[in-house]
Subunit: 124 residues, 2 copies
């Protein structure tokens, strides 16, 4: 069996520069742990069957919702977006380092297809 | 519906002092996000059906294994322990702040019953 090792999150963030493209750093219980660099506006979308957790490691993530006020997620904070809730992640122009926990089946743009949609998911 | 809000992890750690007793701060996809203060040795145990993620927010967690060398998990690092792998979390005497991500069904001492076993799980 492969040796079990710890994973340094900031070291993993340094391995890629592309924004809005999540990379996988771990898996457990049919869920992935992913890292994503965010900058400016993402697309409005929802996930019909999957809740999604955001955890910020650098900067401030703004999460817009259709039915409630925008939530700020700062470094050291998490936000859980329940399934079926339309949301739009964005930043104030800075690059935000974000960790995601979500089922393997989760597409990052949910039910929305856009230029930002990435179908292939890579490990780093 | 309840307003969706961000959760500050260090603020949540300040709400309890008890060691080796996980508190729940969030749930998604039948998984819990829990916080636990660790100090000294926990019990050897395994989870038959559940993988478990550890993420350290303060201090250094040492994870002993029967079949490989101990892994150090420092602040900003994660460790995923696959189901069925016996493990023992411990610290070098300091209090370690640890976040857990695991299925709702996971008992913190796995298949081991000990004085440290807590059956009830509380939200904070």
């Amino acid at each position: 069996m492969k040796e079990i090792e710890s994973i340094n999150i900031m070291d993993k963030f340094s391995l890629f520069k592309k924004e809005w493209t999540p990379f996988i750093i771990g898996e457990l219980n049919e869920q992935y742990v992913k890292l994503c660099r965010l900058k400016d506006n993402f697309v409005w979308h929802q996930h019909e069957n999957e809740d999604e957790l955001f955890m910020v490691f650098k900067g401030t993530l703004f999460m817009d919702f259709r039915d409630q006020k925008t939530v700020e997620v700062k470094e050291g904070e998490i936000l859980i977006v329940p399934k079926g809730v339309e949301h739009r992640p964005r930043t104030n122009g800075e690059v935000v380092f974000n960790l995601l926990f979500e089922p393997k089946s989760t597409a990052h743009t949910g039910d929305t297809k856009s230029d930002l949609t990435v179908n292939k998911q890579d490990w780093i």
